[in-house]
């Protein structure tokens, strides 16, 4: 009756988000008087798998079958359900990221579970099983009841702090009993972004809007991001204009992020933009218009010209760092 958590790896390594998931599952397990089993798919060294135990896993089921490298949604979902069945798990936890969103609905159907995605906190209650999630793109929260014996949830990033525990785990190889016909997709090409802080991982995000005036004015923001180890983001018109890459567009129709600090320069704060960033812990706005709606969402603000403020901030950050 353990809690099963699927811990995705990135080139054999786990990320903070994986540990958030394990810590969350461990907290649920504690409340339910049970333990956490993690499922890992892909080649991950034992020393890396052992890191999961620091956050509360009792057991890791490891699948190293190369066929899963294609991240085939059908085969992976089947494997997760096989692991849940083997462990007698009634609650399955996945990440609310690209892969988790792709797998969780399939897993839920396969194991006849109720599904709730983007959960932001520990269950409100277990009997009935009620969880809290964001709805209307961050504009509201809902409490949702899962009416089924099995439950699948995806946890929103940065909604649960990883907690280190004293714990040890066993690692077992797991055979999910998949066949070639479960693998339905062929990867022809993979392109990895290297050397840049990934927007979805970044603790600090530096973002610019149309107030930056053109694609040529981003040197200052890039310098600031470098200094802070931050990821870069932008509003939709900025990526539409081609000033910045589409991968940096945040908002309702772009990426949804929740860093500790979101720094918005020359962004008006349209509702669709805020939908992607409103879960940030602290929002800072620099905008020359004191009526800009971004100031209603921001914690700290400067009414002023970005081209005056950015160089001054860079200086102040350098001073702080030294």
């Amino acid at each position: 009756m353990s809690i099963l958590v699927y811990t995705e790896n990135w080139d054999g390594k786990f990320k903070k988000f994986s540990f958030e998931l394990v810590s969350y599952a461990a907290a649920v397990a504690k409340q339910r008087g049970t333990t956490v089993t993690a499922l890992s798919i892909g080649k991950v060294a034992d020393s890396e798998l052992e890191k999961l135990s620091t956050y509360g896993t009792k057991k890791v089921l490891s699948i190293t079958d190369d066929r899963f490298n294609s991240l085939d949604n059908k085969a992976m979902s089947k494997a997760i359900v096989a692991a849940a069945k083997a462990e007698g798990a009634k609650i399955i936890v996945l990440a609310h990221n690209n892969l988790g969103k792709a797998l969780a609905p399939r897993v839920a159907v396969r194991i006849q579970a109720g599904l709730e995605t983007g959960v932001v906190a520990l269950p409100v209650s277990y009997d009935p099983f009620i969880v809290k999630k964001k709805v209307f793109t961050g504009k509201a929260f809902a409490e949702v009841k899962l009416n089924t014996e099995f439950k699948v949830i995806t946890l929103a990033q940065n909604s649960f702090e990883p907690v280190e525990l004293k714990n040890s785990e066993t690692i077992e190889t797991f055979d999910p009993q998949v066949t070639d016909s479960d693998f339905t997709t062929t990867v022809k090409e993979t392109n990895k972004v290297t050397g840049k802080v990934l927007l979805t991982d970044a603790e600090i995000v530096v973002s610019g809007g149309r107030g930056m005036k053109s694609g040529d004015n981003w040197g200052g923001l890039e310098e600031m991001a470098d200094l802070l180890g931050a990821g870069m983001a932008c509003s939709r018109p900025v990526s539409d204009e081609g000033w910045r890459s589409h991968t940096e567009h945040v908002g309702q129709t772009g990426k949804i992020i929740a860093p500790n600090l979101y720094l918005a320069f020359g962004i008006s704060g349209a509702i669709q933009h805020l939908g992607g960033v409103s879960s940030s812990k602290v929002i800072v706005a620099v905008n020359k218009d004191k009526e800009a709606p971004i100031f209603e969402a921001a914690d700290y603000g400067i009414v002023g010209d970005v081209f005056t403020v950015i160089p001054q901030m860079i200086e102040a950050i350098k001073e702080m760092k030294s």
Binding site: Y300, V303, T308
Partner: protein, 245 residues
């Protein structure tokens, strides 16, 4: 190749979100309804694929009451050939997917959005694929027809991939799938009136989840303002007070 585009009917993205007095349901008084932005882009891409050849037919489908018909008509005006509405109020993603599974069998490519902008489930597309026991590819930002196969661009965390998939397949689409949503032209709107919008009766389906209550986020404290020439003070506050630097 036949394409089915799933259409979710959602409040306009600028809607001020309010709930009914007991906070158990969304208050839709005065709300403008639109095609979910992702679905609009999916449909746009489907129409583009049909224009270049290789796609013979585009159907749009919605699970909902008759109140969603204007949204389906708009989808017809954008360029779908016909529409299907399963006549039941959508109350749960599994219920919606179960209804769609009854009408989705004859399509090669089924396109769903990565999430509906109202209840943010990110659920229907994947559930439908599992119910039909077919492939699904998520976070799709591009699609091309390649003979009997489909070529997808998909975003993964930290990069992107190109995939080849045999049909039938559910593509769960996101940003990039089409550049700009197509706005229906007058001619399209006229033609849409004559296109078929078939209403089918629902099958019985289980509600696996139910909303208990809604709440608005707590009001933020007022923004702390710093003078334009005092960026140093801002950095100090972020470092010492907010502790985020």
């Amino acid at each position: 190749m036949k394409i089915l585009v799933l259409i979710s009917n959602v409040p306009d993205t600028t809607t001020k979100i309010r709930f009914k007095a007991d906070n158990t349901a969304f208050d839709d008084a005065g709300v403008q309804w639109i095609i979910n932005p992702w679905d609009e882009l999916a449909l746009t891409r489907a129409v583009e694929l049909k224009e270049v050849g290789g796609v013979s037919h585009i159907t749009v489908a919605n699970v909902g009451t008759s109140s969603t018909e204007p949204t389906l008509r708009k989808a017809l005006a954008v360029g779908a050939d016909d529409a299907i509405r399963v006549d039941v109020e959508a109350r749960d993603a599994f219920e919606v997917a179960t209804q769609l599974a009854t009408i989705a069998k004859d399509y090669d490519l089924i396109m769903a959005g990565i999430e509906a902008s109202d209840y943010n489930g990110s659920a229907v597309g994947g559930m439908l694929a599992e119910l039909l026991d077919i492939a699904s590819v998520s976070a799709v930002s591009g699609v091309k027809v390649d003979g009997g196969n489909l070529i997808f661009n998909r975003e993964i965390d930290g990069g992107s991939q190109v995939l080849s998939v045999t049909t039938p397949v559910v593509a769960i689409v996101q940003k990039g799938i089409a550049k700009e949503p197509r706005i229906p032209a007058m001619r399209g709107i006229m033609m849409a009136r004559k296109k078929e919008l078939k209403v089918v009766a629902p099958v019985s389906a289980e509600d696996r989840t139910s909303f208990v209550k809604f709440e608005l986020p707590p009001k933020k404290a007022a923004c702390k303002m710093v003078a334009e020439d005092n960026a140093k003070e801002l950095v100090r506050l972020l470092h010492e007070e907010a502790k985020v630097l």
